[in-house]
Amino acid sequence: MAHTRFRNDRGLTARMALVGFLLVALYLAVVAALIAYGLPTVFVVLIAVGVGWGQWYFSDSVAMKAMRAREVTPEQAPELHGVVDRLCALADMPKPRVAVADTDIPNAFATGRSPSHSVVCVTTGLLRRLDAEEVEGVLGHELAHVAHRDVSVMTVASTLGVLAGLIMRWGLYFGGGGRDRNNAMVFLAVWVASIAVYLISFLLTRALSRYRELSADRSAAYLTGRPSSLASALTKISGDMARIPTRDLRQAEPVSAFLFAPALNKQSFTALFSSHPSLDVRLEQLAKVSADLGRQV
């Protein structure tokens, strides 16, 4: 009976698989087109993969520094550690490090290349606004990100997107320039094509990110058994977030985009409440989980 109570959301899984497939298909199509064109793009690929790898490998320290978070010991934050301890025991997963960021914006994130090299971080603003059960719901959500290896998944996804854009642009440009054509036309075509590829891959990555958020909500709700607490945490924080300017988290965006850091800012570093599914969608899913838990066996 334990199996039947915790069903997977097939629709969600299917949509996620579709987006993942489209991302890879896009990447492969670009590569295939260029190979047909006869270009040595190996070195570009190597650089892009190298940067992606670096971001993934150092994701925990990079994100911690970006948020000015400090790791806390069980003595410094006994309640926080107590909650994480219990959730990890309940989910049978290794305990990540726990950190606190000293900022008033209510937020939380999880990062790290693997479950055993992960950090879960909450801000002091979050701890001040939420009650114990709501904090537990948020931590459950972050632990689900860790268990789902979302940092790895999103880094791979965004690196693929960036690669597709890069290869398209550089490949076509060098290839076209070497063949003595109308330079202005070639340049325009390359420009439009690379923008289009980047745009598509960006949208796909964002869609994937939203599905990962929904999955994390769902897992957290079943783990804690209190979907309504997570829902109330989301409502409280979304209200706050709407009033507070988002500059803090996003001002680095133009630079990040240049440094492939959509992965840094939005995906690999999963800033809980600035990622995208709308509050309504998330609350609706949690209400369904709540109904499922309340159903008599």
Binding site: M16, A17, P74, D92, P94, Y222, G294
Partner: protein
């Protein structure tokens, strides 16, 4: 959790393995012989109560089932983390009755589909000099570990815990990863 499940972003709640609980009876003999720890006759099951009517009904059925045997009633309490403890009391020399009762509690919750909500079970032991140790069973791991709080403080008597681990290593599967030796401050299984 398998790699495939992580990639698809779905975690299956871990299932509990209950039968290892009976191993505590054997371990009790060893603990008394080697360290002088005797069972206190108090044990407790810790679980996360889900919201909603289904869980409340299962909990009420359980209470009825346990109260029906004419023995001491089972007490329920909620700790500061929002986890529920069901405390069972039996005479100190009836450890096997206590273990059977703890097993029944777990089985009932599991049969009602709430196995994933089970956190741990604790069986209390005490030495003549007043030191106390809880032998804790982690369902999701199928392993045991000792928890020895120093009375009146939030410190653990690590020496005693390691001593217990050494003593019962042959009788119980001890959790090797010390990070998973969850602290259970204020567990009602220990005074």
């Amino acid at each position: 959790m398998g790699l495939f499940d992580s990639l698809l972003g779905r975690s299956r709640p871990a299932k509990a393995d209950l039968d290892a609980l009976f191993g505590v009876t054997q371990a009790a003999f060893t603990l008394e012989a080697s360290i002088g720890l005797r069972p206190t006759g108090v044990g407790a099951v810790c679980y996360r109560a889900n919201e909603g009517a289904a869980f409340a009904t299962a909990q009420a059925d359980l209470q009825q089932l346990l109260d029906a045997d004419g023995g001491p009633a089972v007490e329920t309490s909620t700790d500061s983390y929002g986890f529920t403890w069901l405390v069972c009391r039996q005479p100190a020399d009836a450890l096997s009755d206590l273990v059977t009762e703890l097993h029944a509690v777990n089985q009932t919750l599991q049969d009602n589909g709430f196995g994933p909500s089970l956190l741990c079970s604790v069986v209390g032991f005490a030495a003549p000099d007043g030191r106390q140790v809880g032998v804790v069973y982690l369902y999701k791991r199928g392993t045991f570990y000792p928890f020895a709080p120093v009375p009146g403080s939030e410190h653990r008597d690590n020496a005693l815990e390691l001593q217990v681990r050494g003593a019962v290593g042959a009788d119980l599967r001890i959790e090797n990863d010390l990070h998973r030796w969850l602290a259970l401050w204020g567990t009602p299984a220990l005074d």
